[in-house]
């Protein structure tokens, strides 16, 4: 956090000054570790074993916050007797289909729910289909559907199939000894972490977990976060001040770009992109989003969807045409960025827009990225600087190796200079879901324009060209609301007008033309609009609340609600009903956040209550009541189908209702927990140009004996597009380097300040050597594992102030099955002293490795680990 979010880290330092204990769990000793009370170096890719170990400790020593767990989580819920756990099936959950490498998740459900389709994200969909469209992504602000909120509960937590007992059994093998064996963390240190975390949780204290892409970029990334969620729910740390699981996002508005997504599988507000075969009619679409019988606010999805379509198609959206649903394109598989790159290589893609993104350096499998672009007919790059993705046709590493030649590349490339953040108005959504409005300071220089300008005018031109077209395919575009007011010398469209559209309007009645005050105003009858329901309220009362800037010193509230605006409805802590006990009183004065005011008959407190305002703690719905009315007064998790925090996820995940430790796709370590080596549902691409290393069960894995991981440095930003062109940043970290322990340096004869070549089956890259005590070799039983650290900011090109080989070129592509994110935080490699070969010799050098390791397209891609007797 000190490395990549230094200013956010001021709050950690402040907490530390007040006595908070800071524990840093990371393969390397970083600038964060330097400030921590404890650094826990663990093996990259072993976190679920670590988190599972903590869960086991909590359960075994009865350290959980019982009152919280019983009332607010599904600990008491009894699950189906058809469910079989990893201990029964040696690393698999029940329902695995080796043909499709997916789970039939119907056996994971709650007792009594067995007959209700698959219990999937969107009920009734096949799991292959769910994985391929990354359906887990829709759960960005909620839990999965349940057809029926009624569940069987045993609040004594003794029923052998109640969730708490299932958890207990599942994690019983995650002992401190096992953690040591998997993670390389000593028992003593691990137990210290367990004691610290549990001692600092309860009525009076809360513990927060903070993560970044070190947790997400794995084939089991989603389950990492689930691991932390289980700990936090058991310890009563969710919905409370100082608690939670905090994603520290690395880009100014990456939260915003999932809320208002440019993602193939989502529409604004985590609505699904319609999928052929399951969302064929509007009713199918609505029905798949939420089940009518379930609890909570997702039952109002029809109002969000209708308002969304009204925002896009205005008066052309009518009840008769299902509000324009018929104009929506449909997805029918994995159309994620990696699949698209492979489609480029297979000449299925003609045109590509890169908007402030540098995949030639920043995406895994850099070689595929660049070769893919060379297959395009046309490429549009919009950026501040001449990034490597724009100039690949003349300076890509593949030109040096002879794989590409400038004169043979047919791709037409358009480079458009972009406007910087001060040259346009608009909102970023920061990492805590807070929107902040940026005022425009100056006009952009020369031909530089904002994306808003580019896309508005491109849309205008396209609509003008198609005007009058009777073709059915053009009607959606022609009916689109696209009349944003423009101003200034460049006819810039108004960002403010777009934000208003996102917020939504009353379209009819007394309030026609007025902005909505929030998503509760939305209607399913076409009388309201709103481009992103969770952002509705940002313009409540006709005021741009994202532009609120009351100085924190003048707010009189430590929540500082009058700076920016957080979705939903300016709540700063989600599910904050859980900060009060079942009777509505704060768990402790010290940790008071919101509470029930009996006299006023409403919820009140420091934060905006995340609960129906006048629903008393004692309220109990009549059986069969659904929607928000179906929530009991002590159901704090209002976006969950049963109002409870899910220790066990009966639906919604592609790879298991509870996290189980699997080794990374590439790992030098045999999974000590189960026969199943790696995530059996991970998405792999069996292609000659995407070779994987042999797993430890295959011959030849010794060719790549080391673990490597990638990360960022304080001084640079991602693929360098906004830092490697700046002398003031470049001089602080001018060269690509690898961090190795003195022990590995000795083993491989690596010279400090010299060069090393890091090799995978994909390519070999060179880096300056930084030998440091900050990296330690880990002992896993009899095995010693060396880890190599690689910052990924550099790329090969001709225009930046500093350049160098790109660490992302080393990775193959294998993905998490829930959200289709690649594994690039743990892989294997070899390292040798000296500079890498250049020109075609580089290809021969790498080929020698792949030959020695005996790599084919099947290598490493066996998803279901064969039983021991079946192995060759």
């Amino acid at each position: 956090m000190a490395e990549c979010h230094p200013v956010g880290f001021q709050w950690v330092m402040e907490a530390k000054l007040r006595g908070a204990k800071v524990i840093h769990i990371d393969p390397r000793f970083t600038r964060t570790s330097a400030m921590a009370d404890m650094h826990v170096p663990l093996r990259a890719g072993s976190d679920i074993a670590f988190l599972g170990g903590i869960i086991n400790y909590i359960l075994e020593h009865e350290k959980y916050f019982r009152d919280y767990v019983v009332s607010y989580t599904n600990a008491a819920t009894v699950i189906s007797e058809q469910f079989q756990d990893t201990d029964d099936l040696d690393g698999l959950f029940s329902g695995y289909d080796p043909e499709t490498a997916t789970y039939d998740t119907s056996t994971w459900t709650y007792a009594g729910h067995e007959g209700e389709g698959h219990g999937s994200v969107d009920g009734g969909e096949h799991e292959v289909s769910e994985r391929d469209r990354g359906a887990g992504h829709e759960l960005g602000n909620r839990g999965a559907n349940l057809a029926d909120p009624l569940v069987q509960r045993d609040e004594t937590l003794q029923h052998p199939r109640c969730v708490l007992q299932v958890l207990k059994r599942h994690y019983a093998r995650y002992t401190p000894q096992l953690v040591e064996e998997v993670c390389g963390v000593s028992e003593a240190q691990f137990l210290q972490v367990c004691e610290d975390v549990t001692a600092n949780s309860g009525r009076d204290r809360t513990t927060a977990w903070v993560y970044s892409v070190g947790w997400t970029q794995h084939t089991v990334g989603t389950q990492y976060i689930r691991g932390a969620a289980i700990i936090q729910l058991l310890l009563g740390n969710m919905g409370r001040p100082g608690g939670g699981i905090l994603a520290l996002r690395g880009h100014a508005s990456i939260q915003g770009s999932t809320d208002i997504p440019t993602l193939f599988n989502l529409l604004p507000g985590y609505l699904p992109m319609p999928k052929a075969g399951i969302h064929d009619s509007f009713q199918d679409y609505l029905g798949a989003i939420s089940s009518p019988g379930q609890k909570g606010f997702w039952t109002k999805a029809d109002t969000y969807v209708t308002s969304f379509f009204k925002a896009w198609w205005g008066e052309a959206a009518t009840a008769e045409n299902d509000w324009g649903f018929e104009w929506m394109p449909r997805i029918n598989g994995d159309h994620g960025t990696y699949q698209t790159v492979m489609d480029m290589l297979d000449d299925k893609v003609e045109g590509y827009f890169l908007l402030g993104q540098n995949p030639a350096v920043g995406s895994a499998q850099g070689r595929m990225q660049r070769l893919g672009m060379s297959h395009l007919k046309w490429l549009v790059v919009r950026d501040l600087n001449m990034i490597e993705s724009a100039s690949f046709w003349k300076d890509a590493p593949e030109i040096a190796t002879g794989e590409l030649s400038t004169e043979d590349i047919e791709t037409e490339v358009f480079f458009f200079p972009a406007a910087s953040h001060v040259e346009k108005e608009g909102t970023f959504t920061q990492t805590q879901r807070m929107l902040q409005w940026r005022h425009k300071a100056v006009e952009p220089p020369g031909d530089a324009r904002s994306e808003l300008h580019f896309f508005f005018h491109l849309g205008r031109m396209l609509r003008e060209r198609l005007a009058g077209s009777a073709l059915e395919r053009d009607q959606g575009l022609l009916h689109l609301t696209w009349d944003y007011p423009t101003s200034g010398p460049h006819e810039d469209p108004s960002g403010d007008a777009v934000l208003r559209e996102i917020n939504g309007y009353h379209l009819t009645g007394d309030k026609a033309g007025q902005l909505l005050d929030g998503f509760a105003d939305m209607k399913a009858d076409g009388s309201t609009s709103g481009g992103c329901w969770i952002y509705s309220g940002v313009y409540a009362g006709g005021v741009n609340r994202a532009a609120n800037r009351v100085p924190w010193t003048e707010q009189g509230s430590w929540i500082a609600p009058d700076w920016g605006w957080a979705w939903p409805m300016n709540r700063r802590v989600l599910y904050n009903r859980a900060s009060a006990d079942p009777d509505g009183r704060p768990w402790s004065e010290r940790k008071a956040l919101v509470w029930w005011d009996e006299d006023a008959g409403r919820w009140t407190g420091h934060d905006v209550p995340d609960f129906p305002l006048t629903k008393a703690p004692s309220y109990r719905p009549q059986e069969g009541t659904s929607g928000p009315e179906g929530l009991a007064g002590d159901d704090p998790f209002i976006m969950q189908a049963d109002g409870k925090g899910w220790l066990y996820a009966p639906a919604g995940l592609a790879d298991g209702p509870m996290p189980a430790h699997y080794e990374p796709h590439e790992s030098p370590v045999r999974n000590p927990l189960y026969n199943q080596q790696a995530n059996p549902t991970r998405k792999v691409y069996r292609r000659k140009d995407n070779p994987s290393h042999p797993s430890v069960l295959e011959q030849g894995h010794q060719v790549f004996p080391y673990v490597f991981t990638t990360y960022r440095l304080t001084e640079h930003h991602t693929a360098g597009g906004m830092s490697r062109w700046l002398p003031n940043l470049s001089e602080l970290q001018p060269e690509f380097f690898c961090e190795v322990s003195p022990e590995l340096a000795r083993e491989r004869d690596l010279q400090h300040l010299g060069y090393a070549t890091i090799v995978t089956a994909r390519t070999a890259i060179e880096a300056r050597v930084l030998v440091t005590d900050r990296v330690v070799p880990l002992r896993l039983g009899d095995q010693v594992v060396h880890q190599i650290g690689l910052p990924y900011h550099w790329g090969v090109g001709g225009d930046a102030v500093v350049s160098g080989d790109s660490a992302n070129d080393l990775f193959e592509l294998s993905l998490d099955p829930n959200v289709l994110i690649q594994e690039c935080k743990a892989a294997t490699c070899d390292i040798v002293p000296g500079r890498r070969p250049t020109g075609p010799a580089l290809l021969r050098f790498v080929e020698d490795y792949t030959t020695r390791a005996g790599i084919t397209i099947e290598t490493g891609n066996t998803l279901l680990t064969p039983p021991p007797e079946g192995r060759p």
């Binding site: 404890m38 003195p742 300056r768």
Partner: protein, 341 residues
Amino acid sequence: MSNSFFGPLPDPAADAGWGGEDRQPRKGFFTDTSICIGCKACEVACKEWNAVPADGMNFLGSSYDNSGALGASTWRHVKFIEQPKTLGTQDAGIAGTAVGPPASDVLNRAADSALTGDRSSLGTSNTVDLGMPLTTLPGQADGAQRTEFRWLMESDVCKHCTHAGCLDVCPTGSLFRTEFGTVVVQDDICNGCGYCVPACPFGVIDRRVGEKGVTKNEGIAQKCTLCYDRLGEGLTPACAQACPTQSIQFGDLDELRERAAARVEALHERGVPEARLYGEDPHDGVGGTGAFFLLLDEPEVYGLPPDPIVTTRDLPRMWRTAGLAALAMLAGAVAAFGTGR
């Protein structure tokens, strides 16, 4: 004019003629290295505000430091020290791992040579190899398995000495003492003579190397001004304003000294007995510094002189000696004149 050149001097600004309405409390920096996260925001914020040019893309291998040292184009410099020692009650997580002897000593020697060497010889292009790799591989040195580790960071800066050698030797009046008690180079007056460079006991001030007519203030002596222009408007210097953790604190020197003393005490109570202040003592060889530090080890570890002495300490005596000599010479000349007739 007592202690104008050496010894405690409560108000160096008053000693330099700032009185009446111009009078200001002495300003300074307290840099608390125990909370420095090594982010280098200070280096960048300083360069941005003062339009200090980038001065070389050199990979130094000195932990995460690639700036090397303070100089004409590095007015804030963050030093990184990797040590086989324990920081207070910190658990660095080494126990149980498969470690050998530490690399830190070898690395620190590499860092030292990068620091003490002639920076211009480091080259300016990142394609230039920065010299011979070390002959001793880190980790090959004799020694037991390492058991301790800590990573220290410190943002160094001009000390704004009570007795500033650079100022005292400046023949042009370019270096002057401001009403805030700080020491500032006036670019429009400096002629680049360079007398100030060896006069600084800390090796801070330097003449800017660059391309004539291209590099701003090429050949001119440059160093931290404590953002003199900002101070005039009551603003915080750029580095202190940016510092994410308030490792760099700006304010009235008297108040900073009190704060620092309390911080040292707090650290001692928390099991960091090695915390100590550097530069805050008015009785030291430079009369105390306006920018002082809380360190977690000996000053030498941070590349700071343990006992800095203003190079002009003996100036009054030398002046007296020189004066006597001049008088004697004058007398001799007169005598010669008399006898020559």
